[in-house]
């Protein structure tokens, strides 16, 4: 393992702000841990809650200085942009409908944005955000965190290297069970409220992850889809289960299932890809293994950091094979790579990065939008860019 290398100017901790992520939030704490794991960020400012007292209280709890704890993201963006040691990047970890207005404020002031997924709660917002990102000199990163898992990267390499041959079939699924019955808590409430989560329920919250993962691994994009969405729990206003058929550019076909009402599934994200030369399979819940079968040969079990891994994956692992890495390390890979990209950008030497950005985000929102449109037409095929 390498020393962390903070003497490298690129590795000096980046001053980070956070929008959302106050008390009772879930994903904010995940982002904070992910930012800490490799020591590449220092959290120095926050607009942690839309409730002023909670924002203050949460900032205090996190050890933020009082004058850098803000009651709104707009205030934070304005003031931090003027500070000499203001934040260089901001993590946006709010419910979906706040992603666009928040990101806009920082992007227009040249502050890099690390935003949770999906990109926005509406396609209209997504388009505006895309423009805002394009107009800005700052970078935009979207935490489709499953792309940070080393074995997902390895899967992508196998495809890219042609080890699967011409791709034919993509099977991806993301079942959960936590919304099997009606739930009332902070996490469930906004995720089942169309005004905050957007039109898609399970499709937006986890379907986008599944779709993103399929695209990331295969390098393909869906041209059209046919979706049959359900809201099984009485009174639920957004889908809690979705069956989707996909047609990818180039001829591959796929199926995507996402569900929040499948008892026995926690975060059972799986992706399987088949070509005319081989197949692969990866499971998020035991993520350190990749199952690869060259057609006509026995299945090989690739392990994170073990024999047969591409050298390029090395920097995305921290401990020896057999010592499992998990969700937070995968998430941290995105933060680390975003840090590399930010420092390179500041040096005027931009680098390419695997961290998803606006394009992946736009693809995700188009996916949700297409699912909803298709389902409204009795699961007719619709184009994703329609």
């Amino acid at each position: 393992m390498a020393i962390e290398g903070k003497d490298n100017p690129h590795a000096r901790p980046i001053r980070l702000g956070m929008v959302g992520g106050g008390k009772d939030a879930f994903i904010g704490a995940v982002h904070r841990i992910a930012s800490r794991i490799d020591g590449r960020y220092e959290l120095v400012a926050g607009a942690l809650s839309s409730t002023p007292e909670k924002a203050l209280e949460s900032g205090r709890a996190l050890g933020l200085k009082e004058d850098r704890t803000y009651a709104s993201f707009a205030d934070m963006a304005k003031r931090e942009a003027r500070l000499k040691d203001g934040i260089e990047a901001v993590a946006i970890v709010t419910p979906n409908h706040v992603h666009y207005p928040a990101a806009r404020e920082f992007l227009k002031r040249g502050i890099h944005v690390i935003c949770d997924k999906p990109l926005t709660s509406t396609l209209a917002d997504a388009k505006k955000l895309a423009k805002a990102a394009e107009a800005s000199d700052a970078m935009f990163f979207l935490t489709h965190n499953y792309t940070g898992y080393p074995m997902v990267r390895q899967a992508r390499e196998l495809v890219e290297n042609g080890d699967l041959g011409t791709l034919r079939i993509v099977q991806v699924e993301y079942p959960q069970d936590w919304l099997t019955v009606e739930q009332h808590n902070k996490q469930a409430d906004w995720r089942t409220d169309p005004s905050r989560t957007g039109l898609g329920g399970s499709t937006g919250d986890i379907g986008t992850h599944a779709y993103n993962l399929a695209c990331f691994v295969t390098g393909l994009a869906a041209e059209s889809l046919a979706a049959d969405l359900q809201s099984f729990v009485p009174g639920r206003k957004v889908d809690d289960n979705a069956h989707v058929m996909l047609r990818f550019a180039g001829g591959a076909r796929g199926m995507l299932w996402c569900s929040q009402v499948a008892p026995g599934n926690e975060n059972n994200l799986k992706v399987r890809v088949y070509g005319d030369k081989g197949g692969l399979e990866w499971h998020q819940e035991n993520p350190n293994y990749l199952y690869f079968t060259p057609f006509g040969q026995p299945m090989r079990v690739l392990t994170r950091g073990g024999a047969g891994m591409s050298a390029s994956i090395g920097p995305a692992t921290r401990v020896p094979p057999g010592h499992p890495e998990g969700y937070l390390e995968g998430f941290a890979n995105l933060y680390k790579e975003a840090a590399d990209a930010i420092r390179a950008h500041q040096d005027g030497k931009p680098i390419s990065s695997l961290v998803p950005g606006i394009d992946a985000g736009m693809a995700g929102v188009r996916f949700i939008d297409a699912c909803v449109r298709s389902s409204a037409k009795n699961a007719a095929w619709v184009k994703l860019d329609g």
Copy 2:
């Protein structure tokens, strides 16, 4: 374990004939083993091949008497029906297009039929066979053999007992990889020839198994489906991969994937069912386990013959838990139960049986037909009884 109990008149071996199953056949040998495992049948006659010499040679190899080795199923049906000790039942293990003409000959002479799946190669034949079966006093059994697995029976019981609550989601899949590239051999040839296999390729050969399994476990039937069929291997005349969305009577929704071109999959049939109270999962390749999760509780691993099994499943197992039973034992359960039904029928005391029959067969052919019709209409929803 019980003694085999042949003193019971019901248990006296049944005189069995076979149509198909000569040299180089696969499924014929499976039927013969399945018929022998519990000692309930004695193979005494055969029309084992449509090639006369091969029929003779195969009959000799199997130890059949020469005068009971026939050159055609029609000859066999005629003569056996007249013999005092003629066959009581016949196993039909030919390519699909022969199922109907062969079954008809035996049914009309009151000889019970045990037929491989799918029921027929066309819907027209299926309807005719259904009429022939109705007109006959003989019984008709269809070897959707996966229904014979004890844990599949247990899954069905859990659903029936309400342990899953109201069913919402059915996920079933049957991927294989043996047709990933063009193949030429006895098994591949007829399975990829529409004139023998029927219009459906993977849908007919394995999709029907998957669909049957889903229906058997849930007790549900699909009302409509939307199917996207592919023939990935250049020149292939039938589908080798199918993506299907299902809508069941009563509101449950499903997805079905079958494939013959998914490298790394041998006979990877899996079924998962979710209701508002629980979920279950079963894998054919390790069939002695059933994964059952009551919502809000830890997953329970039920084992064949182990704790928590329904008493009714007992007779379908032969060895203690932890000693795996497999494909042949599941298949043998159908043969054993057909034997029970035949003897009861002969005694004039008909019994109910879980062995699939004409109805399941008709449902399977309707499934294939609907898949082909839907796919031809760009995966539009079609009714199964359309």
Copy 3:
């Protein structure tokens, strides 16, 4: 799959008798199914119980003729030996202490013996049985049935081919849980009674299987062992758990654990072997897979009948890869191979066979004896041939 080939004189069914295996027995029914699966035997005589009425009743249930249902194995041996169409082979499926006296009667009359394990209940009996077998022209087969599993054969081939290099470590275990608490039933009673089961409890019943499996796969024999035996259940007269360290000829070392009191284990037999070039692992409860890792390469999952299997294993499988075979098919392989050997012997053209015989049986009894001797000396090392 091949046709069963009964026209081949070698394949003509062998006339089989059975000693033990009456009502309420377990292993007798297993032997009968195993003998039927490939159609190579016909059960024609039996001394099925030491209780005359039960013997008669069981024979009738099995469809045996009354005059070939015997009240004692001695009667059966005498009369069958004189019959023109008397039995050619006998299956001995009694409690352990009857193995020797029964086998002796048949061996001395030239009737081939297929005997359940362990060979005998005492070392003295084992030596006498070995002499009896040597003195007889008939063959003796011992159903260490786990050696019949195709993937166990494949494991043996990998070792034999040098794919593991020089062997260093053998880890074998066979935990069960059915005797966790005091039990009273036919199966438990004789297995916990030293006068019937022998001095070893778990060591005799399952430890011998584990030891045999380790030797079969590796081709090694233990020179010495150190055993710590326990009888955890109060009042139990034989061991119900055993911890054993092994030293093999040639320098490999091993550990063996067998237990009847390990809750959560049904028949959880596993073997792992490691050499300087690779390692392998096999699990009885999911027996169609073999995990093989050449050192420095990813693990390969070999599947029964799949890619990478040795051609020699082919005849030991019946259905395509992905269709699981289980305990009964493995058992049936021994019966089929014994049939081949018997027919070849009758033709005066003896063939070699992988079915365990007297030597493996003697090794098993020496293993039990050594375990008991070592444990009595506080787990001191003892020689197996001591």
Copy 4:
């Protein structure tokens, strides 16, 4: 998930120093990540290498101030103890033989010690270190990091709650394969050099982890053991494989296997415990699951954070069930709990903690010592406190 809570004085980052962990080290980086994950430590000083330039270079890379980068741990202990904002705790991550001399310097100056395992390279050093710890007001923590895994804690709770009944059997194993052939690199070199690693090779490096885990989960200590150690790789001066039988106080018996030469095993640590009421099993390589079987009931799969977990485990998890946590999060739990204990100690309100300390360390060294003594006597039973 809770906010990190740094406003709580207990949660204010602890000033941390590090001994060892410079360039090319492995475990130092692990400790640093573990210390960062929950934001409870700030690394401010280091004696990172015994080579002065490397120490300086490593310190610079880590962003340490030059005047707090030391050429020796002795210098660091002396100066930091005098600084107003000197380190409050030190992480010792050197090869084993340095643990004692380094720990002594900090303990005698009241600086808390977080030390990697095993405690020391010799029993003599261990005894001296125990005295030094007792004499000091500072606390001593030993990173037997596997005890930090939530499901290991859950296993311990099940035992403690009596869910397994009276314990009978403990099976623990820790196989690796990285030393299957001779290796020369920084990690391998000191681990196979008795002057740095101590007398035990695999027993010291991983056997102690296995033994510690068994004791942690069961609450038992071994009274005596019999060990058969091997050095399979020619020329290796310490054991690379060990077979150990254990006798625990109270009557439970165990087996322990550790190996560095078992191809196909990375860090395949597993523990299984059986009592008269139930059994459990845990695997380090997929650590988010615990398999628990109450005798006579189906196995239950407990998941980290899922249904059926003890409330007390909650604080040791960070993300929802189904999102895997791994090695680093388990390690971080020890750091977090050490931080809680240090702050409480500073407040004069000591709290109990599950982090292993001197006693566990002493038990580990006694375990190694007993293994070596027993093996030298041909695996005779020896007492651990002998």
